[in-house]
């Protein structure tokens, strides 16, 4: 009978693995297909020198890229640490954001003119203060 073919019984205790297992099979099948039809020809092309590997052999602004990658985790981590000193006041967010906005603006600023620097500094002070005041104070949203 056709219906027997489709019958399935799911044990509640292991039901959390039923769908993920299915997804793994599909994922595996697709990966194999992609390796054969896309990745293998691509790697062959790399070998022949027609194509370049992504990320490794691309040109990039190393300073800005890696500084960004360092700045963001530092921002998140410090925010939690400072925030913990002043529990549930949002000061962690407020003060660390000021520093972060300042650093990132300076990092991305190309021409350090006096006018641009003033704008950057004012922005770094005003924007986090405004966000903090409106959200933490007016709307009493919990901030770090």
């Amino acid at each position: 009978m056709a219906s027997d073919l489709f019958d399935v019984s799911i044990d509640f205790e292991t039901s959390h693995l039923f769908f993920p297992t299915l997804v793994h099979w599909i994922l595996g099948g697709l990966l194999a297909l992609i390796l054969i039809t896309k990745v293998a020809p691509f790697l062959a092309a790399v070998k022949r020198g027609e194509r370049a590997l992504p990320i490794v052999s691309e040109s990039r602004d190393n300073l800005r890229f890696f500084a960004t990658l360092a700045l963001i985790p530092a921002y998140f981590a410090l925010m939690a640490i400072v925030g913990d000193l002043f529990p549930y006041t949002g000061y962690g967010f407020l003060f660390v954001s000021m520093a972060f906005v300042l650093c990132m603006s300076l990092l991305y600023l190309h021409d350090w003119t006096k006018k641009a620097l003033v704008i950057v500094v004012v922005n770094a002070v005003v924007a986090p203060s405004l966000a903090w005041f409106v959200l933490a104070k007016l709307f009493t949203i919990t901030l770090p």
């Binding site: 056709a2 219906s3 489709f6 019958d7 399935v8 019984s9 799911i10 039901s15 959390h16 693995l17 039923f18 769908f19 993920p20 997804v23 793994h24 599909i26 994922l27 697709l30 990966l31 297909l33 992609i34 039809t37 896309k38 992504p54 990320i55 990039r60 602004d61 800005r64 890229f65 960004t68 990658l69 963001i72 985790p73 921002y75 998140f76 925010m79 967010f93 954001s97 972060f100 906005v101 990132m104 603006s105 300076l106 990092l107 991305y108 600023l109 190309h110 704008i119 950057v120 922005n123 924007a127 986090p128 966000a131 959200l135 709307f139 009493t140 949203i141 919990t142 901030l143 770090p144």
Partner: protein, 520 residues
């Protein structure tokens, strides 16, 4: 019109104020309509029921609409339901047509909102009875239909589907939640991750991480140069908006609005699935959808009319079954209980006055939203002219606020931003596709619950075909959607080949292209 006598000036002011605040919340990447309603909920106690509802419905409509702004201008969906708005909105903004794109969005939004309000008003109890015909099986098929957009959305179907399945996989990390009827066990992770990942990754941080943070990483890599998009906003004469853009879009508008209303009213499905589904259908059914995903107004129309139509749709089960249709209406229930009013199948018959007042507020909020947005757009669109060294740190900062606040203060949600920011960067580098991945992520966990629960109830796979006529209709739509995607795939491959062969004779290229765009 008796009920109008109980309304005073403050009612109208509160609708306006609510809509304005809602738009601002929605427009800030990471802040959502749900959050706007949640933070203002305590205020409603002091305001009383009528005025409280005025404020909250204003926030709801404004919040959903505001999501279009960062979606179009910054490629960051302001709310999860504006994800499909980024597909066409951002390419248009890149061409300097940001203002035009926003105007299209606003008009589509207000029409979607009003259509759904009308449907709510006229058919709420009737539709509620229809919506309970959708059991786990039909809901799974709806999700599957929405997922089928992945096939037609991507440049390479194989890569697109692969990316989508990765998205589904990512959404399964965490526990199989007991609040969905699961067994509460965690999977797809190591024990040490459990304290952070017990509930898996939250949608909003994932979304703004993969769109917002990864964009910044890609820019940083290029050295954050000044680009010309800012200046181009002014010169693009072709980018000026005119109502003629909507010519021939009537079907799209109506269809998408009804899809939005309908998906909104299915409890549990709601939210982001609406705009995805509307987008899918436009892509499948439109005469020419080849430009969709590259900056076509029709994509914006589908997406925005559907996501604003959610508002009326999600209120249907709330007011006629006592069950919220989406996250925001779930918070709205709190406003009723605070005032000692029960929502359920007898709400409308027993609270006639409140019902009319809600409808007034809803319609009014849509108009206020339209007026506020339509005339503010000129100024809002200038966001893209803010220098990047000022704009980017602020985006990161607001993403942090949004991520932290979405679950009422969870630090891991902030780290999720970074994880998915880096992931998004890598994905784009190795040539996987972000849009299918994120759609997979949004719909994955619902797909699981509905799929597994259907099988638990019926014990056979054949139930997906034999459950009801509704299921068969949904299968037909899924089949059409997939066939269409395959046909599109062949067509675009043929076109690529043609263009490749014309590379050698450059003089013909423009002619070839023109030929393409007319034939689609």
């Amino acid at each position: 019109m008796e009920f109008l006598s109980v309304l005073d000036v403050s009612f109208f002011l509160l609708v306006g104020f609510g809509t304005l605040v809602g738009i601002i919340f929605g427009a800030i990447p990471g802040m959502t309509a749900t959050m706007a309603v949640a933070v203002c909920l305590p205020l409603t106690y002091a305001l009383g029921l009528n005025n409280g509802l005025a404020l909250l419905l204003g926030l709801y409509v404004g919040g959903i609409s505001g999501g279009m702004v960062p979606a179009v201008l910054l490629n960051i969906p302001g709310t999860p339901s504006s994800i499909t708005t980024t597909f066409d909105g951002y390419p248009m903004a890149r061409r300097g047509e940001g203002e035009k794109a926003l105007r299209i969005c606003v008009i589509a939004s207000v029409i979607g909102g009003l259509i759904s309000a009308a449907v709510l008003f006229l058919f709420a109890p009737l539709l509620a009875d229809f919506s309970i015909k959708f059991s786990y099986v039909e809901k799974f098929l709806i999700i599957l239909l929405a997922l089928s957009v992945i096939a037609s959305l991507s440049n390479s179907m194989l890569i697109g589907i692969f990316s989508g399945v990765i998205g589904i996989w990512l959404s399964l990390i965490g526990d199989y939640s007991i609040s969905d009827g699961g067994n509460g066990h965690t999977r797809l992770m190591f024990d040490f991750m459990e304290p952070y990942l017990f509930e898996g990754f939250s949608l909003l941080p994932v979304l703004i991480g993969i769109f917002g943070i990864s964009t910044i990483l890609l820019e940083a890599e290029k050295g954050v140069k000044r680009d010309v998009a800012g200046e181009r906003v002014k010169i693009g004469a072709s980018g000026r908006f005119s109502l003629s853009t909507f010519k021939g879009s009537l079907t799209n508008l109506t269809r998408s609005s009804f899809i939005g209303t309908f998906v909104g009213m299915l409890p549990g499905v709601g939210g982001s699935a609406a705009s995805v589904l509307a987008y899918t259908q436009e892509k499948n059914l439109a005469k020419d959808s080849s430009q969709m995903g590259k900056g076509a107004p029709q994509g914006l129309i589908a997406s925005e009319s559907a996501n604003n139509a959610l508002t009326g749709g999600a209120l249907i089960p709330l007011l006629s079954l006592g069950i919220p249709g989406d996250a925001t209406t779930a918070v709205l229930i709190g406003a009723f209980t605070l005032q000692g009013i029960q929502v359920g199948p007898l709400f409308i018959p027993e609270n006639h006055e409140t019902w009319y007042i809600m409808m007034t507020a809803l319609v009014l909020a849509n108009f206020v939203m339209f007026v506020l947005m339509f005339f503010a757009i000129k100024h809002i669109a200038k966001v893209v002219m803010v220098p990047k060294h000022i704009l980017y740190p602020l985006i990161v900062m607001m993403c942090v606020v949004g991520a932290y606040a979405i679950n009422y203060g969870i630090m891991f949600d902030v780290w999720t931003l970074l994880i998915f920011g880096v992931l998004g960067y890598l994905i784009q580098k190795i040539g996987l596709e972000v849009a299918p991945l994120i759609i997979g992520f949004i719909l994955g966990s619902q797909a699981e619950v509905y799929f597994v629960k259907s099988l638990e109830s019926f014990g056979t796979y054949s139930i997906f075909f034999t459950k009801s006529p509704i299921a068969l209709v949904l299968w037909a739509l899924i089949a059409a959607s997939v066939l269409f995607a395959i046909a599109m795939g062949f067509k675009s491959r043929a076109r690529q080949k043609m263009e490749l062969s014309q590379m050698h004779t450059p003089s013909n290229t423009t002619a070839g292209k023109r030929h393409d765009s007319t034939n689609g």
